[in-house]
């Protein structure tokens, strides 16, 4: 009985740990998106009050992807592998 409880608790615990890791990952992703929004907004948006147009949309998309490319290069250099 006591053994069964311990087993259940640890299974539950493991599942909770996994859940917390997922949430932590989600939280990081949300943080990156928030940061990128501010960053790419400054790069791409000239007038804040006109509707988001096609050029701005394309710029935002490029900004995200080039930021990611650039991040890959930075990480490559810092980790010493070329």
């Amino acid at each position: 009985m006591a053994l069964d409880d311990t087993k259940n608790i640890s299974a539950e615990q493991r599942e909770l740990d996994e859940f917390m890791q997922q949430q932590e990952g989600l939280s990081q992703l949300q943080g990156t998106v928030r940061h990128l929004t501010g960053f790419c907004w400054n790069q791409c948006i000239n007038s804040p009050s006109t509707p988001l147009d096609r050029t701005e949309r394309a710029c935002l998309q490029n900004c995200v992807n080039r930021f990611y490319d650039s991040m890959n290069i930075v990480v490559q250099h810092l980790s010493g592998s070329q």
């Binding site: 259940n8 909770l16 939280s27 998106v33 929004t37 501010g38 804040p48 009050s49 935002l60 990611y68």
Partner: protein, 88 residues
Amino acid sequence: MAFNLTGNKSAELKDKIRQELALANAREIIQHTNETCFKSCVPNPGQSLSGSETNCLSSCVKKYLEAWNHISQAYVQRVQKEEGNGRH
């Protein structure tokens, strides 16, 4: 029996954590949006917001959230693509 009880508690806890996380994210987005739009629309803060400042803020908030949504999609797409490339 004991497992079910723990299971309910665990589901409650998870819901609570999800809610807190969503709330924290929303708070941050609201603050970023306000800072960005305030800077653009209210260059010289007066006694009260003028009609044009209010209009500018409304359009800016809409645009900022649209941009956030667009970037969210683009970033998730890129992450998924990179993960796909990583697993040869």
